[in-house]
C-alpha cells in the first residue's frame, strides 16, 4: 500500500512538472507558436486553393484587423467587407478579428515566419520599421502610381502619411487613425465656475483649471499611462518643440531640456498640484472614469469619441490639447499593409480592397461610426460628413488638430524603444526617478538598443 502511494505521488509529480515545462515552452518557443498559427492560416490557404476548382477564379484574401477602441466595430468591418465583395464578385475577403494591436502584431509575425502571412492586415502605423526588418511587406508605390501617384496621395493628411513612408517609398495606407484630444465635462466646468465653452488652451491654464476642478473625491484631469506612456509624453514633447525621433527611425532624442520640462509638468500635475491621480493610470479605466464623472478632463484618443458620445450622461466638450510653444499631438492608430510572401494576384486584389476601404465616402462613414479621423481631406467635403459635423462639431476637432500633429514614435527595434521610454516615464510618474534622470536613462538604453541599426 505504502509503495503504491509513493509511486502514484511520484508519477503525479513527474507529470505535473513536465506539464509545467510543456506549458511554458509552448508559450515561449516561437517555433511552436508559429506552427500553430501556420496551421490556422493554412486552413484559409487550403480553402483558397480549393476555391478555383469549383468557383472559377475567385481570389481569396485573409484580412487581419485589430480593435483598439470601444464599440461594436466587428459588425462594421464585416459589413464593409461584404460591400466590397458585392462590388468585386471575383474576390473573397475573410476578415479575421485578431484582438489588440499587440495581439495582431504577434499573429502576423507568426504568420510571416511560417511563410503563411495574412494577405492584408491593419497594424499600428509604427510597425513600419519592424515589418521592414522582417522583410514582411511590399512598397505600394506601383499601385499608387496607377491611381495617379502624388495626386492620389495628396488627398491623405500629411501627418498621417509620416508613419507610412521612409526613404522615399510608401509602405502603408492610413485607415483607423487618430490623434489625442482633450475631453472635458461641461457640467463640472459650470459647477467649478469655469466657462464651459472655454477649455484650457495653454499648459498654465490647464494646470489652473485642473486644480480648480479637483477635489471632493474627483480629479481635474486624467492622462492614461499603462500601455501608452510614450504616446502621452509625445504630446508634451511636440507642444514644447520637437518630436522624439529621427524620420529614418535610427535615432531618438529623449533627454532634451524641452522633454524634461514636459515630463516635469506632467509629474507636477499629480505630485505637486494634486489635480491628477498619483502613480500610473490604466488606459481603459480613464474613459470609464470620465464617463462616471470621476474626472473632469481626460487626454485620450479621438478614436473613443463615438464611445464617449454614446455613453456620456452629461454635456461634454472636445478640444485641442493645450499648447506650450505650439499645439501638438502625435498621430496614432492603424494602417493597411500588404504582405510579401503571397501571390502577385492576391497583392493586386489586396490593393483593390485597401483602396475600397479608404475611399472618400467610406472614410467619412467609418469616421462617423467610430470617431477615428477620416484619413482623406475629401471625406470632410462629403454630404454625410458635413451633416454629421453640423450636428456634432466635436467630430472636427481631431481633424483640425492634424495641422499641428506629427508622426507617432516609430523606430527600428520599436517594441523595445517604446518599452524603454514608457518604463522611464512610469518611473518619473511614480517618483522613483526625477524627470531628468528618467529621460537620461531612457536615452542611454535606447542608444544601446539602436546601436546595431546604426552600423
Amino acid at each position: 500500500m505504502r509503495k503504491v502511494n509513493v509511486m502514484v505521488m511520484a508519477a503525479a509529480l513527474g507529470m505535473s512538472v513536465l506539464a509545467g515545462c510543456g506549458n511554458n515552452t509552448d508559450t515561449n518557443s516561437n517555433t511552436n507558436n508559429n506552427n500553430a498559427a501556420g496551421k490556422g492560416s493554412g486552413t484559409g490557404a487550403g480553402e483558397a486553393a480549393a476555391a478555383p476548382a469549383d468557383k472559377g477564379t475567385k481570389t481569396e484574401l485573409t484580412y487581419y484587423y485589430p480593435i483598439a477602441v470601444g464599440g461594436p466595430l466587428t459588425a462594421t468591418i464585416e459589413a464593409m467587407t461584404a460591400d466590397f465583395m458585392k462590388e468585386n464578385p471575383d474576390i473573397v475577403v475573410k476578415p479575421v478579428y485578431t484582438g489588440s494591436y499587440a495581439d495582431t502584431a504577434v499573429k502576423t509575425q507568426a504568420g510571416v515566419q511560417s511563410k503563411q502571412p495574412p494577405d492584408v492586415a491593419v497594424l499600428q502605423s509604427t510597425e513600419l520599421f519592424s515589418l521592414l526588418d522582417m522583410d514582411a511587406i511590399i512598397p505600394l508605390d506601383e499601385f499608387i502610381e496607377q491611381e495617379g501617384g502624388d495626386t492620389y496621395l495628396s488627398d491623405f493628411y500629411p501627418a498621417f502619411m509620416e508613419n507610412s513612408q521612409t526613404e522615399g517609398k510608401t509602405y502603408s495606407i492610413p485607415f483607423q487613425r487618430s490623434t489625442i484630444v482633450l475631453y472635458y465635462n461641461k457640467d463640472m466646468f459650470k459647477a467649478a465656475g469655469l466657462d464651459p465653452e472655454k477649455p484650457p488652451a495653454t499648459w498654465a491654464e490647464m494646470q489652473e483649471y485642473a486644480v480648480k476642478l479637483a477635489g471632493g473625491g474627483k480629479w481635474g484631469l486624467e492622462i492614461p499611462v499603462t500601455g501608452y506612456a510614450y504616446w502621452m509624453l509625445q504630446t508634451f514633447a511636440l507642444q514644447n518643440g520637437n518630436n522624439l525621433m529621427a524620420p529614418d527611425g535610427k535615432k531618438v532624442m529623449f533627454n532634451t531640456p524641452e522633454n524634461v520640462e514636459g515630463l516635469q509638468y506632467w509629474v507636477d500635475l499629480a505630485a505637486k498640484h494634486k489635480a491628477m491621480p498619483g502613480g500610473v493610470t490604466d488606459w481603459s479605466t480613464v474613459p470609464s472614469d470620465f464617463l462616471e464623472g470621476k474626472t473632469a478632463m481626460m487626454y485620450h484618443t479621438t478614436g473613443n469619441l463615438t464611445n464617449v458620445k454614446k455613453n456620456a450622461s452629461f454635456d461634454f466638450g472636445v478640444s485641442f490639447l493645450p499648447a506650450q510653444k505650439q499645439y501638438g499631438s502625435p498621430t496614432g492608430g492603424g494602417n493597411f499593409y500588404i504582405f510579401k510572401d503571397i501571390d502577385k494576384k492576391k497583392q493586386e486584389a489586396a490593393w483593390k480592397f485597401v483602396k475600397f476601404m479608404t475611399e472618400t465616402e467610406r472614410a467619412a462613414q467609418w469616421s462617423i461610426d467610430t470617431g477615428y479621423v477620416a484619413v482623406k481631406k475629401s471625406a470632410y467635403e462629403t454630404g454625410r460628413m458635413k451633416a454629421y459635423a453640423a450636428e456634432f462639431p466635436a467630430a472636427l476637432i481631431a481633424r483640425d488638430q492634424l495641422e499641428y500633429a506629427s508622426a507617432e514614435l516609430s523606430t527600428h527595434n520599436n517594441g523595445r524603444i517604446v518599452k524603454i521610454l514608457s518604463d522611464s516615464v512610469q518611473a518619473a510618474l511614480t517618483n522613483e526617478l526625477t524627470p531628468a534622470e528618467a529621460l537620461q536613462k531612457a536615452q542611454n538604453e535606447a542608444d544601446k538598443a539602436l546601436a546595431s541599426f546604426n552600423k
Binding site: 505521488m9 511552436n32 504577434v106 499611462v225
Partner: protein
C-alpha cells in the same frame, strides 16, 4: 527472460502515446530553445548569428532581468506559504463543518473555477482607485484612497493577494482528500488518551498531510513562475516593471521586441528554475516525509 521482455515491451507500448507527445511537444521544443538561446536572433539580424553564451551574459547585466527575478522570488514567497496555510485551514474547516459542508466547500473552491482572465478583470475593478471595492473599503474606515496597481511598492502585494484568493481553494481540494485518507483510529486513540486538539493537529494531522503538502508546494511554487495572464490584463508588468514576472518578460522579449535569441535564453533560465524547484523538493524533502 523472454517473459520479462514481453512484459516490459507491453509496458513500453502502453507508454508510447504519451512518450510520443512528450517528445514532440516538450523535449523537442526544449532542445530547439536551447539551441536558439546561443544565437543572436533579433530584428537587426536577418539570419541568426551564433554568439555562444552572449545572450546569457547580456541577460545578467540587464537591470530589468534582475528586477524580474527579484519580483518572482517575492511573488513565490508571498503566495506559496500563505496560500498553502490558507488552503490547509480551509480544508480542516470544511472537513469539520457540520452545517452546510457542501456549501462551504464550493464557496472556497469557487475562485478556482473562474478563468484567470476573468478573475483578473474582476480584480482590476476591485483595485480601481475612487470607486473600486478596495477604495470603498478604505474610505469606510476613513483612510486615504490608494492606487493599488499604479504604485510600485504596492502592486506586487495586490497581485499576491489576488493569487492567494485564486489558488487557495484549488489546494484545499488536495488537503480535503488528504484529510480523508488519515485513519480515524488515530484520532479515536488520541481522544481516548485525552490529547488536546492542537496537539492532535500538530502530532497527527499535519505530519500525515506532509505528502499532500509536498505535492501542493511544488505545484504552488512552479505556478509562481508560470503565471502571466493576470499581468496581461492588469498591469502589463508596470509601473516601471514593478510587477513584471519572468514569463511575462519572456513574452515581451519574444513578441514585443522580437528578440528570439534572448527570449530563448530566458526560457532556458525558466526551465532550469522549474527543474531545480522540483528536484530540491522531491529529492530533498521527500525523505523526511511520513507516509501512511
Amino acid at each position: 527472460m523472454n517473459a520479462r521482455l514481453r512484459r516490459n515491451g507491453f509496458a513500453w507500448l502502453l507508454l508510447l502515446p504519451s512518450l510520443l507527445f512528450l517528445l514532440l511537444f516538450t523535449f523537442y521544443p526544449i532542445a530547439l530553445t536551447l539551441r536558439l538561446s546561443l544565437f543572436q536572433a533579433d530584428l537587426s539580424t536577418p539570419e541568426p548569428v551564433f554568439t555562444g553564451l552572449g545572450n546569457y551574459r547580456t541577460m545578467f547585466q540587464d537591470e530589468v532581468f534582475r528586477k524580474v527575478m527579484g519580483n518572482n522570488v517575492l511573488f513565490a514567497l508571498g503566495t506559496v506559504p500563505l496560500g498553502i496555510a490558507l488552503a490547509l485551514l480551509m480544508a480542516v474547516f470544511a472537513n469539520k463543518a457540520l452545517l452546510g459542508r457542501g456549501f462551504m466547500r464550493s464557496a472556497f473552491f469557487y475562485p478556482t473555477l473562474i478563468p484567470m482572465i476573468a478573475a483578473a478583470n474582476i480584480w482590476l475593478f476591485i483595485y480601481t482607485p475612487e470607486y473600486g471595492f478596495m477604495s470603498r473599503l478604505l474610505s469606510w474606515f476613513g483612510m486615504n484612497d490608494i492606487n493599488w496597481l499604479g504604485t510600485p511598492g504596492l502592486v506586487m502585494w495586490a497581485m499576491i493577494l489576488m493569487i492567494i484568493w485564486k489558488e487557495a481553494g484549488f489546494f484545499m481540494i488536495f488537503y480535503l482528500a488528504g484529510l480523508q485518507n488519515i485513519s480515524k483510529e488515530l484520532y479515536e486513540a488520541a481522544h481516548v488518551d485525552g490529547v488536546g486538539r492542537f496537539t492532535v493537529f500538530r502530532k497527527i494531522t499535519f505530519p500525515l498531510l506532509m505528502p499532500t503538502t509536498l505535492f501542493v508546494s511544488i505545484v504552488a511554487l512552479t505556478n509562481a513562475y508560470k503565471l502571466v495572464d493576470h499581468l496581461m490584463i492588469m498591469t502589463r508588468g508596470g509601473p516601471n516593471n514593478a510587477s513584471n514576472l519572468l514569463l511575462y518578460y519572456i513574452y515581451e522579449t519574444a513578441f514585443s521586441y522580437w528578440d528570439q535569441g534572448m527570449a530563448s535564453a530566458l526560457t532556458v533560465v525558466m526551465i532550469a528554475v522549474l527543474l531545480l524547484i522540483a528536484a530540491v523538493q522531491f529529492f530533498g524533502l521527500d525523505r523526511r516525509i511520513h507516509y501512511n
